[in-house]
Amino acid sequence: MDSIVSMTIRDLKSLLKKRQISSVELTRLYLDRIRRYDGVIQSYLSVTEEYALKMAEEADKRIQRGDDGYLLGVPMGIKDIFCTQGIETTCASQILKGFIPPYDATVIRRLKENGYVHLGRLNMDEFAMGSSTENSSFQVTRNPWDLTRIPGGSSGGSAAAVAAGLSVASLGTDTGGSIRQPAALCGVVGLKPTYGRVSRYGLIAFASSLDQIGPITRNVEDCADLLAIIAGHDPMDSTSIPAPVPDYRSYLGQDIKGLKIGIPKEYFLEGMEEDVQEAIKNSIQVLAKNGASFVDISLPHTEYAVATYYIICTAEASSNLARYDGVKYGLRVEGKDIIDMYKKTRLSGFGKEVKRRIILGTYVLSSGYYDAYYRKASKVRTLIRRDFENAFSECDVILTPVSPTTAFKAGERLEDPLTMYLSDIFTIPVNLAGLPALSLPCGFDRNNLPIGLQLIGQPLDEARLLQVAYLFEKVQNIQTIPDRYME
């Protein structure tokens, strides 16, 4: 029998169904692994052992009754951004410490309906603002491939836990790359679906026109299966798209003969690490050998994406985070009057990066500066969206690197926000255009750090991305768990 740690969700389900292992045993196995390895990696903010074992017992009873569910009895860690009824949900912020949601996010409800077991809460940058998970107000998560480096962010806890086999799979959120970049830096698979494909109800909001939920997994098959569970229309989210969900699994294993893949010249300029460039070149050859054809394309407004993004996302964040005022939930610090109470609460409750973004966002929306910044950025967003529309008249899928570098050292970019912002240069345009994009391990650099490949698709064309990624994964067979976590 293969090691349980390297199995897919479907393999685990099959063991559970045949009663070769019980959900309680499987849950204990993961709890033991977390105890053994997570003291150093620090991917979990909290482990909900009692709750997990209760859910596992329930799952075992259901399995005995012959019930079914795509995740029945399968334990998973959850990014601490999804409201989960009765379980503390903090968004890694002091301002939400102790917050117990009275309802489930739609994605959590769907995981529950499918029988998952909740292992614990995974670390992230506070309010998902960051690219390294160093902005968590609780702890710093390490990259399982090199413990001196960051796991990426903001879904760094999710990606690190999956990479170290401390969760078979997880869900992340992606506003400017927060699923794809940590997936790439931790050597796992991450998918940001089309904006509106997955309901955001119960997701703690950062930038509402950009946020999207998606799977972080160790293989493409699990990615397809998890997406099938969470995708689809939800009346509780008015931006959710009322389109049917395709059978993603049926695309896995289909060949890619005749598929046209676009390579944007703007993504291969200076600043990219040599090993990243080399890995991308090799990936292009692999896909070409398997029948894909390649076309050179141009996305001329790429260089404006980071500036556009940081105007729009901070503007939306400054508005979304106005709700943390010490009245309805979370922290309250008393003051001499109500305004003073708001100010003191927000001073104590928010971390540095969150405050920086609220100030920047308030500034770009303020009277006298709105046209120069927010309105200008919204117009450039149109140009960036059109770049992709034009490109897709020449190709089916666009291929790029996920990040210009592999995982960087902890602390390296922390004092320099602009450099940190620029590390998302290849992932941000996709959010501005609302497109689906998948991050896939494609090799290692000279320091044995994972490199990620990005496949960008047309709206609602996730199936095609999964199809290409599945083939690539089968041909390349790249290791997704570091050796020392395979025991």
Partner: protein, 106 residues
Amino acid sequence: MQNVDNKPMKITKDMIEYVAHLSRLELEPQEIDLYTEQIDRILSYMDTLNSLDTTHIEPTSHVVPLGTAFRDDIVQDSLPVGDATQNAPRRKGTFFEVPPIIEMEE
């Protein structure tokens, strides 16, 4: 005022303090200095957008062209008030408790 790159400052300390007030954020004195310098650099970087002519371009606020989502006007259960207010740091029964907003005359 000039910044570290010898360019005119995009933003002043007073402006940062004013915007912080609008955002209901109290800042430590050293944070005001830090944010003034950092946000100045970020805003200078954002000036790159000015090299684009966008006079005749429509802004994008949402990428998915969706109309208003309507539902049938059917009364449904909502979250019980007790559950919705359970996380309030201070409450009286099912009401949020806040400091006085309007001064009361004696």
